[in-house]
Symmetry: C2
Subunit: 245 residues, 2 copies
Amino acid sequence: MTNSKTISTNSSRAEQTRAAILKAAIREFGAHGLSGARIDAIAQAASANKALLYYYFKNKEGLYSAAIESVSAEVVHNALAALDPKYSPGERLLRCALNHFDRILTKHEFQSLLQQEMVRVQRNEHHGETAFFQSTFRPLMERLLSAVEEGVRAGELCKAEPMQVVYAIFGTNVFYFLSAPMVATALGIEPFHPQALEARRRGAVQLWGNALFVDRAHGAKLVQKVLRQMPMPEVKDFQLRRKFA
Amino acid sequence: MTNSKTISTNSSRAEQTRAAILKAAIREFGAHGLSGARIDAIAQAASANKALLYYYFKNKEGLYSAAIESVSAEVVHNALAALDPKYSPGERLLRCALNHFDRILTKHEFQSLLQQEMVRVQRNEHHGETAFFQSTFRPLMERLLSAVEEGVRAGELCKAEPMQVVYAIFGTNVFYFLSAPMVATALGIEPFHPQALEARRRGAVQLWGNALFVDRAHGAKLVQKVLRQMPMPEVKDFQLRRKFA
DNA sequence: TAGTATTAACTAACTGTTTAATTAATGACG
DNA sequence: CGTCATTAATTAAACAGTTAGTTAATACTA
């Protein structure tokens, strides 16, 4: 939709550079925001000439939009997988919470970019990507809300406002990673240590197991099952971020 | 500590302008971040000459630091009030959740600025404000954590990682306001409508009443009491934010 | 060779910061 | 009290560095 150039031929060198630019843009925009990101930095990171960015994506905003759309699509696609109806509604939520945590952990550049976009929309600095957001995020939201409603109806989950549950699950994860560096300096702890991460991941899903289910024992059992089936992914470079930018 | 000029005489015209600059800076930095904020914009909003910002605060970063410190101090001071030991540990947490929600609601420019700072610390772009953060946020954190621990020990609250509870309470509120505009465009709802806000506020504290307490009936009772004693404050200009950059 | 992909050099606008000059406040002192 | 000297507060204008965006020329390739 935003792409000025639709990918016509199959992957030639052109597409490779285009992909490299997009990848570098996700990093740079996520790290510095739209205004803070530097076109030259993106070009250099993609080892492409600056003018190429204008060749493939109309301008800075065009590149930003493309980055957002690319990331959003992949994130939603990923999250939807955790909401498989073959699991009970409660288990779906637990899986979704874990999946969300793991996604932030392994793809923090995605998360940074989405956060940047959230504050940008908050300031009404977005212009007309409404249609894209609707088509992308709406299905995810609907599956989430209906999972809560279904769970409440079936007597598995406590009566609660569905939206509130969604805010709580995602908000806890987002806020953990968002505040972690500040918590680290303020309290002198190390929230990105693999052990701390593992504990937090388990703690989060245990909290929801205890909080949302009518039968807390049943919740705890599901937590154990889900934790067993979804081990924490390898975390590669979280300590490296200190050195980096 | 950061102030190059210590306030010597009592409020003359000089102090007024200094305060005006600081207030404008909080707005501008909160709205656009450190790099996005424009010195000219702050000067104009404070109806002060640009060079005055350099006269009172050494440079852009100095002004930013002053804004952060001012906001942080007030926020922490405000939050500590809700943690009065005369309430039971569980009630303290509920009050803290409500207090936090209300602060974001009434002083969104504070929240914006703190969020900006969080992502800034996340990028390791802070330089040496560590001491300030420690002295300011540590007492709050300690009172929060000890409230959870005390509540668990007394059998009022479910066994849970104290930090996890803190992340959940604050994270839910932060994420609600952070994601609301995006949710609004993505789902076509109006999260800043006073009725929606009231529902969300009640929903949040009800969720915690149901989630954290061993005796859910007791939790629900406390929720009712706290909601009665802490009515939602008047919200003045949340709809105006649409017009306002 | 014709069109696509890529590059290097260039520009116009913007922004944080400084400087030097001007006005207001404060204090000294006859 | 008044007059002057000194400091504090404020202003307008310019500087210096940076950045998004352009252009015109060049390499590649089908």
